[in-house]
């Protein structure tokens, strides 16, 4: 099934849709998102709270709540399509093996009554039956060393560690099965600046030395630049822009991305901070047309119809403003993900 082109990508997402059912309607949390991620790269997904970032992370690792009303699209991990698998096959062959997740508030994700070594080696023992406990323990030592947690800590319980240490243990746990993709959901949002910088150092070293790819979900634009190779901007369930980090941090294209960047406090320089007036639309009955139009200073009549995604150079942007400069209109999700059928 997999074309040779897909093989070079760690992750290809085509037309991913995730809707939730509530008593008063359908929440369109992730609405037709397509992108791809090369091996050994990191994409950051940024946006305000409630824009569907976390839902997308959950959709990738298939950790879904019960009220899903629609879950469709294609997700290729290392060239293998995973959406058509049933839950049991997915659990056995994909989750932890090929893709693992560091959940939001990960420092509280550890089991308080298990020793660290026991819970860190658990995914390894469950997914690789031929690994003995001694071998697993050796691996635990290795990943602890890698993320910078002292070796003696493996015998301890989570409460004996500081927040930053616990965070590193969870990252170690996501790393132990050597997946090709790790989804990080707000990995540092509850931590201090020094600890934050430290965690990003660890993540960078994992990326450089182990060749792992990352999907980093965050609302903190400034620190996201610590890991980003590509940037994906989400707003109200839609993908608004997808660029390389270099181009994005130089000059974002989409008006929403521009305003988001203008709201980032900077240590030096003297530009005035700007904020985005209004609030994101409800995903229950999202507006037709461009979902950002209500808050957009450049909105025109045209924005009442939903813009297609335009390709400008190597970048993708979903905004009518780029109709003239665009190289082409991208229609197929395959094209958006940068793979040929």
């Amino acid at each position: 099934m997999a074309s040779p082109d897909l093989k070079d990508k760690a992750l290809v997402v085509e037309d991913l849709v995730l809707y939730f059912k509530l008593t008063h309607g359908i929440v369109q949390a992730v609405d037709h998102v397509s992108f791809s991620l090369d091996k050994n790269r990191a994409v950051v997904v940024i946006g305000e709270s409630g824009c569907g970032k976390t839902s997308m992370g959950k959709a990738l690792t298939r950790l879904l709540p019960r009220n899903v009303s629609r879950y469709s699209g294609k997700v290729y991990i290392d060239g293998v399509e995973t959406m058509s698998m049933d839950d049991e096959t997915y659990r056995r062959e994909v989750r932890w093996v090929k893709i693992s997740q560091v959940p939001q508030a990960a420092m509280n994700a550890l089991n308080p009554v298990l020793k660290l070594k026991d819970q860190v080696m658990e995914p390894l023992l469950l997914h690789y039956r031929n690994v003995s406990e001694e071998e697993a323990l050796e691996q635990v030592h290795e990943v602890f060393d890698f993320v910078g947690v002292p070796d003696a800590f493996i015998e301890r319980y989570p409460f004996e560690l500081s927040g930053g240490m616990r965070q590193r243990v969870v990252i170690a746990m996501a790393l132990i099965t050597r997946p090709s993709v790790i989804v990080l959901d707000e990995p540092t949002s509850a931590l201090d600046v020094l600890t934050q910088a430290n965690i990003y150092n660890v993540l960078k070293r994992i990326k450089w030395e182990k060749g792992t790819s990352f999907v980093l979900i965050t609302h903190d634009v400034a620190t996201s630049s610590e890991l980003a190779d590509d940037v994906l901007v989400m707003y109200a369930g839609h993908m608004m822009e997808h660029s390389s980090a270099k181009e994005f941090f130089d000059e974002p294209l989409h008006p929403y991305a521009k305003m988001l960047m203008a709201a980032v406090p900077k240590l030096y320089g003297d530009e005035d901070l700007q904020f985005i007036p209004g609030k994101p639309p409800s995903l229950l009955n999202p507006p037709t047309g461009c979902r950002f139009a209500d808050r957009c200073p450049f909105a025109t009549e045209k924005c009442k119809t939903e813009p297609p995604t335009f390709r400008v150079g190597d970048r993708f942007v979903k905004c009518w403003l780029y109709e003239k400069d665009a190289d082409e209109i991208v229609n197929s999700p395959q094209e958006l993900a940068g793979v040929q059928e």
């Binding site: 201090d192 600046v193 020094l194 934050q196 910088a197 630049s225 941090f249 709201a263 030096y268 904020f275």
Partner: protein, 344 residues
């Protein structure tokens, strides 16, 4: 031991004449007990902190979690009894004069909490939330109270105020909730405002809105503000002076510009170094972070508390003798042996 006694006057303050608030050698220590009654030492959350806050100045206290900044704030609000030292408000010690004096003091201080949703009682309407401080202040006339409520909602730009009076906190967005918290802190026209991480729970786009609002209110009312935060990147937009706190001590005090452009203490340098501006090249280099973690406050290291993590530590001095605050520039003092000319 008490090397900080030499700085009686805070040279970093804008004016040293009649400060609104003076903190002198403040110690907030929490007693640890074994078996519930045996003394087992102290957690020295705030240890020997002194500073002056003139009228109309906004200062920021910056430090990592567990450095004692919240304890400092609690002591200033009169919520915990200091172990030693004085807190003088308009020249009077807030703990002398009994309950009435404390009540009168608290009427003049506003407090903006960190988590707006947790700070607003969920079963009260916005009107009731804002009315309560006025009732306690003895405003008897109902009409007058309503007038003031509407005025303060307008001041924090919750508009139209009439629409919000009968709403409950959960019906408001995070930004609006924080505005109501600010309105409540301001409704008794305080002279001083204490803001404990007022924007850390908010979304990036809303954060800026609230910072701008606080800045406006501060300038308009000529308020003294103590802004407590761990995020150095937001302080520039708001405060005039920065105090850097580490393990219960103020280690550097200077104007915002001085801290950002001419930092002295190795810890301040490390903090500044750890903050990223959104630039693509960040992804290509590792950041220089001091090893280890902040010390336990039960038995902090002797001498300078940062010495176990400091690259520039001077052997035989930093781990033995505690550094005192020395002036290194106009309105800039630092507690570090590297800058003390009298070191042996």
């Amino acid at each position: 031991m008490n090397t900080q006694k030499s700085t009686v006057v805070d040279v970093t303050a804008r004016s040293t004449e009649k400060p609104l608030l003076s903190v002198r050698n403040l110690k907030v220590w929490y007693e640890l007990k074994r078996f519930g009654f045996l003394h087992a030492g102290y957690v020295k959350a705030v240890d020997n902190v002194s500073f002056d806050l003139p009228r109309g100045e906004a200062i920021a206290v910056v430090g990592e979690s567990g450095c004692g900044k919240s304890s400092l704030m609690k002591a200033i609000l009169g919520l915990v009894h200091p172990h030693d030292g004085e807190i003088l408000f308009e020249g009077k010690n807030i703990w002398e004069g009994g309950r009435e004096a404390m009540r009168a003091y608290r009427m003049q201080v506003g407090y903006v909490q960190q988590d707006p949703y947790g700070a607003l009682p969920p079963f009260m309407t916005i009107k009731r939330i804002l009315e309560e401080p006025l009732i306690l202040a003895g405003v008897k006339d109902k009409k007058k109270r309503l007038e003031r409520i509407i005025r303060s909602l307008e001041e924090v730009k919750v508009s139209p105020p009439e629409d919000f009076l009968n709403k409950y906190p959960h019906m408001l967005s995070g930004g609006q909730q924080q505005r109501v918290v600010i309105a409540r802190a301001l409704i008794r026209d305080p002279k001083m405002l204490i803001a404990d991480e007022p924007v850390s729970m908010l979304d990036a786009s809303v954060r800026v809105e609230i910072l701008k609002l606080l800045d406006e209110v501060q300038k308009e009312r000529n308020l003294s503000v103590i802004y407590i935060t761990h995020d150095l990147s937001t302080v520039r937009y708001f405060s005039e002076r920065i105090f850097v706190m580490y393990a219960g001590k103020l280690i550097e005090k200077a104007s915002t510009h001085e801290i950002l452009h001419n930092p002295k203490h190795p810890y301040t340098l490390a903090l500044l170094n750890a903050i990223s501006d959104p630039l693509a090249e960040n992804a290509t280099k590792l950041r220089d972070i001091p090893p280890g973690e902040p010390p336990s406050l039960v038995s902090p290291p002797p001498g300078c508390r940062f010495h176990p993590r400091c690259e520039k530590a001077i052997k035989g001095l930093c781990e033995v003798k505690e550094p005192r605050h020395v002036q290194v520039g106009e309105r800039h003092t630092v507690a570090c042996w590297l800058y003390d000319e009298e070191r042996e």
